[in-house]
């Protein structure tokens, strides 16, 4: 059992996450498109490649690195049987995100976030709840263009976060930010597909390893 958990940590890319996407895929899904110059957040400036006709372009090389780190992390969490919670407050993609979560066997929250969900969980849900081990944000802003409350709550409860940050978002409290577009349907579908594939791969690998262990 101990060997099962420590073995993946020795490899830099145990789940071969790099094969899942290429730079061309990101470009075709319009991940590099940001918002206008006026909407730019100060902390997103290192991730921006440049500005063309007032529209910010995100540096896809950095995005590749961040995306690879984030997918690797989610795969490890899923391998260890952690609870993953998909969060997004965009009404367009609410159904897509919920279906992705259901397909993975993980959980989703694309509705109004009640105040004490993470911080007051034992009273809201009942004693003995298990909180999520990873939060994945497909859009860090809520419907009023302010940072989602869940980012701050996860930081309070020591829960790691993975989030797609656009040029108008604050990447500060997110552990694994992924600078990229969160508005186009093509980009969001790409992210959903990538997360689904990583989680399913990680779970399958876990089941295979357990089966191999039982045989020995």
């Amino acid at each position: 059992d101990d060997k099962l958990l420590t073995e993946p940590l020795n490899h830099p890319d145990f789940f071969s996450v790099k094969e899942l996407f290429t730079l061309k895929d990101l470009f075709d899904a319009r991940v590099h498109l940001g918002h206008k110059k006026g909407c730019r957040h100060r902390f997103m400036e290192p991730y921006i490649f440049g500005c063309r006709l007032d529209q910010d372009i995100i540096d896809l090389d950095q995005t590749m690195q961040h995306l690879q780190l984030a997918l690797n992390f989610t795969a490890h969490v899923a391998y260890r049987g952690g609870i993953i919670l998909f969060v997004s407050r965009r009404r367009q993609f609410c159904h897509l995100v919920e279906s992705t979560a259901r397909a993975c066997g993980e959980y989703a929250h694309t509705r109004y976030w009640q105040g004490g969900l993470l911080t007051n969980a034992h009273i809201q849900f009942g004693p003995g709840v298990r909180l999520p081990d990873l939060l994945i944000f497909l859009s860090t802003l809520n419907n009023v263009f302010e940072p989602h409350v869940a980012i701050r709550d996860a930081a309070k409860m020591n829960i790691p976060t993975v989030g797609v940050v656009d040029t108008n978002c604050n990447p500060c409290l997110i552990t694994y930010p992924i600078p990229g577009n969160d508005d186009s349907p093509a980009a969001v579908e790409l992210y959903c597909r990538l997360f689904r594939m990583t989680i399913i791969r990680a779970k399958d690998k876990r089941r295979q390893s357990e089966a191999v262990e039982e045989l020995q």
Binding site: A108, H109, I123, Q124, F125, G126, G128, V129, R130
Partner: protein, 350 residues
């Protein structure tokens, strides 16, 4: 130090929510069911009946016999029912041994409501996709109109019972809006079954008043009856055709029964309105009330009887003239602290 004695309702609710899931555990309910079955057999033994064929009605009768109670409220009397009817349906614990919740929307708080919204939206997208396919193949979209008049959506309380959790007013209205959007789409016939789960039939009540046909007595003369009331007076009138305009009340001619001109005018008003003064005979019986009330009652009775002699348009004219409406005015009661229904006692300054 101060001690909080009066807590706010929010704090009280929080304490209740914490002790909620622990109230009825599965083991507790199982024990209750075993005890109930044992008790049923003991009761059958006591009453001298067969324990195998002892139904719920027998149990109720036995309890009513053994523990007679004069309490008015049936729910306060001694009760012996199956535990599933006594204890309300409780939400079982939502997560498994390893702590992972069963439902994928568990962390939202209102899992059943949001999963319902998710499903409904999925049906909506299905219908839209089907519509697009039909338009791509240039086929006509089906337009069979669902009868919206005979059905109503579920009420908020019924939805709460269905989902086993609280639904707020905003959530409920959003759900109904989504259902209506789905129902009004042209190709909604595909998801008929799903929509029917949330709609209920409302029996359309026929408000149309049936006008009785004319009856004929032994001599072949057509007649019809009508009933009327006013204040405390009740009257029945029989109007005969081919008459001379004679009117009899309780066996007495109207000139002698109603000496006052105003009452006789009230009696003749329906005939005058239809222009049939000398054409009909009337025999009426009246009881109760005073002079004016009896006149009003007979007027209503005769107007109702005349409906059978007359076309539908003229019936509508009579209704609009107020001949067919029951006068709802009755004597108002006297209130305490006042001289009469409205009159107050004389106000004295000192």
């Amino acid at each position: 130090t101060l001690r909080l004695i009066c807590t706010t309702t929010a704090v009280q609710k929080r304490n209740v929510a914490a002790s909620g899931p622990e109230k009825y555990t599965e083991a507790f309910i199982k024990k209750q069911i075993e005890e109930f079955n044992l008790g049923k057999r003991h009761l059958a033994n006591m009453m001298g009946e067969d324990p195998e064929t002892f139904t719920q009605e027998d149990i109720d009768r036995a309890i009513a016999y053994l523990f007679p109670s004069g309490l008015f409220d049936k729910r306060a009397r001694p009760l012996m029912k199956h535990p599933t009817e006594v204890f309300p349906e409780q939400r079982k614990i939502q997560w498994g041994e390893d702590g992972r919740p069963f439902h994928f929307l568990f962390y939202t708080g209102k899992q059943s409501y949001y999963s319902l919204m998710h499903e409904t939206y999925e049906k909506f997208l299905n219908v839209q996709k089907h519509q697009d396919q039909l338009t791509a193949q240039d086929l006509p979209l089906q337009k069979e109109k669902r009868n919206l008049a005979g059905s109503r959506w579920l009420t908020k309380i019924e939805l709460e019972e269905m989902l086993l959790e609280k639904v707020s007013d905003n959530d409920y209205s959003r759900f109904i809006q989504l259902l209506q959007k789905l129902a009004t789409l042209p190709c909604a016939d595909i998801e008929e079954k799903y929509i029917q789960k949330f709609s209920k039939e409302v029996p359309v009540q026929l408000q149309k008043v049936v006008i009785e046909p004319l009856q004929h007595d032994e001599r072949g003369v057509a007649f019809s009856t009508g009933e009327g009331k006013r204040k405390t007076a009740r009257a029945t009138a029989v109007v005969y055709d081919n008459g001379t305009g004679k009117i009899t009340v309780n066996g007495i001619d109207i000139l002698h029964y109603f000496p006052v001109l105003q009452d006789r005018e009230q009696l003749l008003f329906p005939f005058q309105f239809l222009g049939r003064i000398g054409k009909h005979d009337m025999v009426c019986t009246v009881s109760g009330g005073g002079r004016s009330a009896q006149a009003g009652a007979i007027r209503l009775a005769s107007a109702k009887a005349l409906r059978s002699f007359v076309t539908e348009k003229e019936v509508e004219f009579m209704r609009q003239a107020g001949l067919l409406t029951v006068d709802p005015r009755v004597k108002e009661r006297k209130k305490p602290g006042q001289e009469g229904p409205r009159r107050k006692f004389t106000w004295k300054k000192r």
